[in-house]
């Protein structure tokens, strides 16, 4: 009788092999080694630190390697109030991160400006960088951050990474403008 087991891969007969799609393999590797860039700008950063501690233990998901250099990180966690003055810096740091990269807006401030309806505060970090996951709360508890990070993992798992690798234009870098001198008549 042909059961499902008969058709499946049998390692006893065929050896220690796993057959998979390249996308799935790459995504599986990527999602279990996210290197966050902690963009801690206000009170939410305290919860981000708590998530990194042993009690909430973000390393269960392979994300404990927080890097303060954008060149060594691939997921920016914007945790805090982004003022317009800081917004410039946030975008420059984002541009310095290597592809592929993701952005998490942690908390009300980063998602929408939060309670700071004021002249000085950027009303949501999605005005300057593409955000993948928004986390509600003021501040979100570390569990909420972990939940958001698991959502990022799901998102990474669904990405067409091989196609992206070949295209290399997931997030186009701003083109350098060459200014030409005005022609003299």
């Amino acid at each position: 009788m042909a059961t499902e087991n008969n058709f499946a891969y049998n390692s006893k007969i065929e050896g220690d092999l796993v057959v998979t799609k390249l996308d799935t393999a790459i995504n599986w590797i990527r999602k279990h080694s996210v290197w966050p860039m902690p963009m801690g700008l206000a009170c939410c950063a305290i919860e981000l630190m708590a998530a990194g501690g042993s009690r909430f233990d973000i390393s269960r998901f392979g994300m404990e390697v927080m890097r303060f250099s954008p060149r060594q990180a691939d997921c920016m966690i914007v945790s805090g109030t982004v003022t317009y003055k800081m917004a410039e810096v946030v975008r420059r740091i984002y541009d310095q991160m290597a592809e592929p990269k993701w952005v998490v807006a942690m908390g009300a401030c980063a998602s929408s400006g939060g309670m700071y309806r004021s002249y000085a505060v950027l009303q949501g970090v999605d005005r300057i960088v593409p955000v993948d996951v928004y986390i509600s709360g003021c501040p979100p508890r570390p569990e909420a951050l972990l939940d958001g990070m698991i959502k990022i993992q799901d998102k990474i798992q669904r990405e067409p990474s091989v196609k992206n690798l070949l295209d290399r234009d997931m997030h186009k870098a701003p083109e350098k403008k060459t200014t030409t001198a005005p022609a003299h008549a």
Partner: protein, 207 residues
């Protein structure tokens, strides 16, 4: 508030007057005497600390429109004094800097310049301290709306990379919000009217 110190100050510096105050002794002094008053307070009256520098905008239709406020404290006599000086010009307000007497004045005056636009004559480094350098407004002036005014983004290249980001007025959504003073739940909510309940002052049972 009566105080021998303020009386002495008024006698010594012509044009100074008593200033109404609920807490500490206070005096109004003419702006051009501000430096000598501060020097006198520091060298002869033992006011070795400058606690605060700020200013008041009395609104556009009042003249003098801007008043600089200074709080001095003495660490030996343990007392405070508040000095106020009106700016002569209502359009381009100006005051002498105290940064050379009190290093603490440096950043305080930068903040007052940043938010209210008072220029401090002789300040060693009068740049904005909170808003970015080429921000065109003074946000704590009375005519400036809380939500802000549409402006260019601090860095042009970043604004372009971010798809034309701008500094926009914040959506107020009917705000600013605070707990209502009447109606449902208003008795339960702690708010500015000092209704924080504790052991000494238990929550009144109105239900």
């Amino acid at each position: 508030m009566e105080s021998a110190l303020v009386e002495e100050l008024i006698k010594k510096f012509e044009g100074s007057t008593q200033r109404e105050s609920l807490d500490i002794p206070a005096a109004n002094v003419p702006a051009d005497l501000l430096l000598s008053v501060a020097e006198w307070l520091r060298n002869e009256q033992g006011f070795d600390l400058l606690m605060d520098v700020t200013a008041i905008d009395w609104s556009e239709d009042v003249s003098p429109r801007f008043t600089g406020i200074y709080h001095f404290a003495s660490s030996t006599k343990h007392n405070y004094i508040r000095i106020a000086a009106d700016c002569e010009d209502d359009v381009e307000p100006e005051l002498p800097t105290l940064a050379k007497l009190y290093p603490a004045a440096n950043w305080h005056e930068r903040e007052t310049y940043d938010l209210l636009g008072i220029r401090y004559k002789g300040h060693p480094d009068l740049r904005r301290i909170l808003m970015w350098d080429d921000y065109p407004y003074f946000p704590l002036r009375k005519e400036f709306p809380l939500a802000g005014i549409e402006t260019e983004f601090p860095a042009a290249d970043v604004a372009e990379a971010a798809g034309g980001a701008k500094v926009i007025p914040a959506p107020m959504m009917g705000g600013p919000f605070h707990a209502p003073q009447t109606g449902a739940m208003s008795k339960r909510e702690p708010r500015a009217a000092d209704q924080s309940w504790n052991e000494e002052k238990p929550k009144p049972n109105n239900d």
